[in-house]
Symmetry: C2
Subunit: 381 residues, 2 copies
């Protein structure tokens, strides 16, 4: 079943007509992933999806039986009928369904230049739409607000994560010589047992010696977990293609004054951000609210406050600073909070020698209200 | 440290000069991976690498400290000096190092069309080399034979896998109610403990009910492992960016006549392929040798015999059938066995109701001799 609603699908067709795009093609394969495939067709991976500006559409999948189960399209074209020459299959589809002397095709962000050249050589009447950021942004904007069906799936991904927090608490309470790696594997197994189809991303475990790095290299190590100070685990579940993302801050032993302050400011910044959430508020102001709290306490936040969740773990919208440089402003536009947005709120403070502290929950805006999907907490051992 | 040898680096420059390419650019980021970055610069990920046809080169990395540790380049350019406008950094580099009125830039296979458009708009004197399959193939061919240094790393990746076979044997002997997932997690943990930086690919575990599918969906399931018949586990380690790939066939209970035949033919086909390995032999003939054994026994092999191993788990060369269609022949060329090639040999036979059988080892051609890097075996419980 495709994720896009019929109403949004019509908006996409309208966009194509306005931009004089005859056909949009989405390609997903091992070396170039594109979740718009699942969004627009329901089929999870390894296929070409084409849709004309009048809405006719077809899927050319590598795995036809999977497509018959998952795809919601007008037509499934078996590539074996074209001896796996996908371009020929597209060519014949366009001849049959468009029959125009000139065809404008659009592709999205990471469609390879090598592919464009091969299409141009094989289909003489084709030309490619050049405003790729515009159409990519348009689809990304469609995806940035979720339908009730999508939110149902995101709630389940979040629930798997929240239930795993209790497992983490159990693990931390009993940790003696266990390593960061041991916790990462434990969490992976626990989420798989609860129905996660995969990790949302590699689990990051930083003990107090490593947690001052925003993104530890490696994500988890053979270092002992139970060392005094502030640590954190950042993890999430993938479920039916959708993602959750949670950071649980923890500590071993007594906190000194600096550590206590880092902990309290993080939670205060989190609450300040949550309190800002209201339909219509510009997202950079939510980011600023958290920064203001942290700066007032004498610390900095070296990253953005949050990001959207959906078919990727970094969907639109992004909750980040309004850029200062002219170059960056050119590609920036103000985004305001809308019904259906699902995103993380994750303020953090890091200081070498003291550790790191980040609190992260997933939040949805449903029927105008703030719904906090996950239940992270501070685990003090 | 870059993987490419100085001798091969000179060949690449010669190729660029012959093709009138002024500069080659390799881009790797989260949404478009390109292992040629590590091959040519030593830097593992998230960077732009540029090299001119006279060999001058620079890296623009997201993580500058990591580049200072890993990269082997003339110059590291910190993108913060360009406010993360990578295109501007490239533009100024080209002005300084080429100073030509027209610059021809080459990119490889999955460089996005959207990037090409942005470069064209920002650097008026740039044009893009269109024979992308040619340069991608050229670099892929360079990578298809490994240096002694690369083979050392591949041996270690293989060794991690081989040692894990003993863990698998232990697990299978003690398996009662354990699931396919349980074995997959066990193998992941065991390889991490032995120094693997990651799985080479998601571990595939098929019990006798599922192993007749070449690539099971999902890769491993909650089904019980110990069911009578032929099963298999296909797994590998990633080590310093290089990959191993092993399939261990196993069985639970007595084999019937068909299963016994499937097992014996698989091992006979494997040996027939190994016996063919000799410098200069066309690889499609090695593939054919295995198929001939399996066909003579009344079965089919529904996949290719093997693939190269290196910075990807599907490197050149490919040990597969000579294509029959005219379209496919256009993109095919005969590849012969060469010194330094490292690849899998993995014949298999599959039959619903009986299970699946595949034997896979990694093989290197070193000093003209066949070196079998892994030690897969049939585990009969």
């Amino acid at each position: 079943m495709r994720s896009i609603t019929n109403e949004k699908f019509e908006k996409l067709l309208k966009f194509m007509q306005d931009e004089k795009i005859d056909v949009l093609m989405i390609a997903d394969n091992e070396s170039s992933k594109n979740v718009n495939l699942q969004y627009l067709s329901g089929h999870p991976m390894d296929a070409l999806f084409i849709v004309t500006s009048s809405g006719e559409n077809a899927l050319i999948p590598w795995d036809v039986p999977l497509a018959q189960k998952e795809a919601q399209v007008d037509e499934i074209i078996d590539p074996i009928n074209y001896k796996y020459n996908y371009i020929q299959a597209v060519k014949e589809y366009l001849e049959k369904h468009l029959n125009k002397s000139k065809v404008v095709m659009a592709v999205t962000d990471n469609f390879p230049y090598s592919g464009v050249i091969r299409y141009e050589e094989s289909i003489p009447n084709i030309s490619f739409y050049r405003e790729i950021p515009k159409i990519s942004q348009f689809i990304s904007d469609l995806r940035s607000t979720k339908s009730h069906k999508e939110i149902e799936i995101l709630r389940k991904a979040a629930q798997i994560g929240t239930e795993t927090i209790q497992d983490i608490k159990h693990f931390l309470k009993n940790a003696v010589d266990e390593s960061e790696n041991d916790l990462a594997f434990y969490v992976h197994k626990k989420m798989a047992d609860k129905g996660a189809e995969d990790l949302a991303f590699p689990t990051l475990v930083g003990n107090a010696n490593r947690a001052h790095m925003i993104h530890c290299h490696p994500w988890a190590s053979s270092q002992k977990l139970a060392v005094p100070g502030l640590g954190l685990i950042d993890f999430g579940a993938k479920y039916k293609g959708y993602h959750s993302d949670i950071t649980v801050p923890f500590s071993f032993g007594e906190l000194n004054e600096t550590q206590q302050k880092m902990h309290e400011l993080t939670f205060k910044a989190y609450q300040a951000a949550i309190d800002m959430l209201e339909i219509g508020v510009p997202l950079w102001k939510v980011n600023q609210a958290a920064i203001d709290v942290i700066k007032a306490g004498g610390f900095d936040m070296p990253h953005s406050l949050g990001h959207g969740l959906g078919l990727t773990v970094h969907d639109s919208p992004f909750i980040s600073r309004k850029p200062s440089s002219e170059y960056a402003l050119k590609y920036w536009k103000e985004v305001k909070l809308e019904e259906g947005m699902v995103f993380t709120i994750e303020p953090g403070i890091y200081k070498e020698g003291f550790g790191g502290q980040r609190l992260e929950n997933d939040v949805a805006i449903v029927n105008g209200k703030v719904e906090i999907l996950t239940k992270s907490e501070f685990i003090q051992i």
